[in-house]
Amino acid sequence: MNSLVKVVQGVYHDSVSLMRVSQALSALQGVEVAVVAMATPLNLDLARDLGFEIPPAEPSELLVALRAEDVTAATGELERLLGELSSRSVATESAGFPPRTTRSAARLGEGNLVLVSVPGEHAFGEALDAVEAGLPVMIFSDNVPVEQEVLLKRLAEERGGLVMGPDCGTAVIGGAGLGFANVLRPGPVGVVAASGTGAQQVTSLLDLAGVGVSQVLGVGSRDLSEQVGGVSAMRALRLLDEDPATELIVLISKPPAPEVAGAVREVVDKLRTPVVTALLGTSDGDLTSATAQVLDRLGRPVPDWLSWSRPVAKGSVRGLYSGGTLCTEASLITPGGFVDYGDDVFTRGRAHPMIDATLRLEALAKLEPGEVALMDVVLGHGADPDPALRLAPAIEAATRGDVQVVIALVGTEGDPQGLRRQAEALHQAGASVFTSNAQAARHAAGSAR
């Protein structure tokens, strides 16, 4: 095997596009490993862990690390793939000079909503452009300093705008799913969520029960913290209260700061529209029980949530999550060691674990015999187009190693990946699969006693 390591200046592509290039290269005959990523400290460490000697490099530079029988052939393919990424920008450029900033795009006059997903340290300027242009903005990016979030939300409040995020994973506005978005039927439930996967869990369960949504407004994982003070949650609640299509509001959050929770509940009490709250870590219960409450309030029956169960033997639970709220919910239900791979520290210069399962699969492979792996798999637009494809062999390997796997599968039948198809593939590989994360956690916990 031959190695090649190089650092290229003046080339930028987003982490997802580069992940695709890395995967395409790794899939080539004779290529053992390929890392093509922006040279962030995390990515440099990963490459070092893979045994590469890495020269000093800046996050604005492109790192290429290859180990292959024929390095020349692999670099040839690399050049071709990077060329393809660049030629797309040439194509848009020849059609007129494409906007380079959100400010410039907003001046074109057609946009009425902004979705920001640049690296967190650069998200502020783009989001500020949106606020200054009077457009509602969803900031998918994480790693945005909290003082920038506070400033953006204060400015938006002054101008009557709305800032969803940072670290806002999902939203559905006017029928368009933004970020990681499940395909949901239209309906009477409006959602305000300081938690992307929390919103995805509740709306996917509602969809399974035949109930749709009017709008899903993410507000960012820190919105109900003391520093941010729930500014966007309160604004979103009022917006949904004025929405004729919304008959019932669900408010979802990871454990909020107590005084902020109090202030938000005061706003909730003044709304005309009934509100079901699912603030984890308070007396509200879990997301599945909140969903049941919503169905009760709408006078709809609560179904048995779909599952593909297997018996699980006693063992300590290891939570390997991609969704922060799902991780928190599960950890409140069952004791064990939990890691949220969607956390900021794992996503600097790297695609989110819902897109790139590499880190979670590595962790799964390292579990001890007898342990129970509790994982979430989230479907929908933006997520891995076929998560079972990479997960099933890893589950089979884990099962052979006497590691038991329990999966919370969040998604709908309308999602591009197909809920049942994914569930069956994962189940066949040896996993227990639940559409309710709370039930998955209890199933894993049942074995842990």
Partner: protein
Amino acid sequence: MTLLPADPHVITVGADLLGEALDAQAVPRTPVEWRPPLRGTAAALARVLADPRRSAANELAVGRLLSARPQLVGVRPAADALGLERGTFLHAGPPITWERASGPMRGALIGAVLLEDMAATEEEARRLLAGGRVRLDPCHHHGAVGPMAGVVSPSMWMFEVRDAEHGGTAYCSLNEGLGKVLRYGAYGPEVLERLRWMGSVLGPSLRDALRVTGPIDLRGLIAQALQMGDELHNRNRAATSLFLRELAPALVEAAPAHAAQVLRFAGGNDHFFLNPAMAAAKVSTDAARGVPGSSLVVAMARNGTDFGVQLSGLGDRWFTGPAGVPDGLYLGAYGPADANPDIGDSTITETSGLGGFAMAAAPAIVKFVGGEVGDAITATRSMYEITLAEHPAYQIPGLGFRGTPVGIDVALVARTGLLPVVNTGIAGRVAGTGQVGAGLVSPPAEAFIAALNALAFDK
């Protein structure tokens, strides 16, 4: 719920995947071609963008730039107009010493010393200049600008331009023509002879003619010239013609003995109007100076060694980087090896939304920017990405009479990595050579990075 659109059209900036997810749902969108900011600007950008003064400060500063009404009000000797004393020489760009001065800058200074009779020979002039017994100062520090070397000495005559809106005044020397001229570093006998004639005949005749015409509206003249194919930096043919049309009858009346000579000289030089255009640009950008918190660029200038920029919010401080060598077309047998690094205050035209920024208005000179009309249009289009406004009077017919991109925001330069497009003449690197070509030059990113960091962190 008017805030939340019923028919979303999404501006997407960042990961392609999330944009593709919208495409899969048939949701219309406008993708932003985002890329990381210039190296070493992320922290400064966060701070400058968060400055609560920024938005209003930029609006005020660029508003003043756009509303300036430059008028040519007179022609006067520099000694009188600028109070320039014997032994003081102005030059283009940020401050420079004789030791660091390039060939054409040295050549022009030698010529000016000879013109002022402070030395009898070139050798004597060199000794005088090297000995530090003359004072060198940027034109910009005296409300003036000069093309190429931009050397101004007390006996040279200057166009005087007043901003009828805000009351400022700016000056620029008279244009000598092309070829072997002082501003390109030539100082031979024919150069000095021409300068003496300009001082004794051209200057006084123009002064007398202007007394007849009264103030000439340069804003209106520039607007017309743009619609006639000039960009007012490398092409001034239309503007020069319009200018002479205004002046000719008055010249005949005011200076009948010299009128033919003066008109022949000015009419034989397609760049005669460059200098009034530069003074007009200077008086307009000066109106935008001194607004605390503003990230607007109010000057870009080169001395043949350094490229410097100044910001509205940072007073008279210069931020510099090494001047680049222009990429362009060369005269005769000259080539890139003969070229001096970028030189001149004429980038004041780009600073005010003309020159390279108005390239789309001047298809006749597209050879300077790559050869195709499309390249000229792209050059102008790209500049809208780094400017705060579009000029209400300076319009480009080929872009549907869209106003030229005006008001460079150093924060937008850093965010987009797009540097100002600058058209320029190219001087020979050896003192005494003169002009060797014309083309396009890229300013050094360092100057803009330094300016942004100073705006962010210096108190």
